[in-house]
């Protein structure tokens, strides 16, 4: 369990772009994000890409999204699309829908709008192919959610000890851990 030593949110998440112009236009002009910091460096980027620009966008709350552009490194046409994604937080459905309208007005296709368990999200792709999610909470997470998450991770670690871990064996192990909790607390709510 975490003690008093804590991290405090995202300082910056950093990715590499081979499409710096499109990336600047998307985040600065389409999304309207401020650009609080840019680093430029000569010969400090390692052998294949020594010279770089490292530029930052303010995604709110003091957090920043950053990109490296390496001069002289062409885009790899065979590169796979990123499989990771970044989700930015908004508070209300009105804000979420306003972002959807803004993207659509400025010609950015909204891939999906999905209601999840505890959040609702819209999805677009940035010029680098990264999925960018904007999401709003449907409810606050509680201690109950956190306790359940701890049991889920314990069940997952147990399941990963097996030769052929599956979701089914994970769910069966989860049930055993929940049952144990119920046995320790036999009073009805």
């Amino acid at each position: 369990m975490p003690g008093s030593l804590r991290t405090r949110g995202v300082d910056h998440a950093a990715y590499v772009t081979a499409r710096p112009a499109e990336t600047i236009r998307f985040y600065r002009d389409v999304m309207g994000l401020r650009t609080p910091h840019v680093i430029t460096a000569k010969g400090w980027g390692g052998k294949p890409h020594p010279d770089f620009v490292h530029f930052f966008f303010d995604i709110g709350n003091g957090d920043r999204l950053a990109f490296f552009y390496y001069f002289g490194v062409p885009e790899d046409p065979g590169a796979a699309r990123p499989t990771y994604h970044l989700a930015l937080h908004v508070e209300t459905q009105e804000e979420l829908l306003a972002w959807r309208a803004r993207f659509e007005r400025l010609g950015v296709r909204v891939i999906a709008q999905i209601v999840h368990e505890t959040i609702e999200s819209i999805y677009v792709r940035d010029p680098n192919g990264m999925v960018l999610e904007i999401t709003r909470p449907l409810r606050e997470l509680s201690e109950r959610d956190e306790f359940d998450a701890e049991l889920s991770l314990a069940a997952l670690l147990d399941t990963l000890e097996e030769d052929d871990p599956t979701l089914e064996t994970f769910w069966q192990r989860k049930a055993e851990l929940v049952e144990k909790e119920l046995a320790n607390d036999p009073e009805e709510d």
């Binding site: 999905i114 359940d148 769910w171 069966q172 049930a175 119920l182 709510d189």
Partner: protein
Amino acid sequence: MTAIYVLDVPEFAPVAEAATGEDLSLTRRSGYFRVSSPGPISVRRADTDLVDAVWFSALSGGYAGALERFDGDLIRVVPDGR
């Protein structure tokens, strides 16, 4: 014997409420619903009104037994013979 365990939060509660089976027993404590039966337990999507993200995570609380079917319409847990 079969059982499904459902976290007692608003989005998942309909899973427990929609469960059907012979001699079904439902308890609610420690933050979970526990639905158990000596035989199969079924949950029909049509009885729940759940969005995809919740439906396809409906067994996140775990189950005891064997998962005979889990698709877009029906979840069915049957005794696994142990």
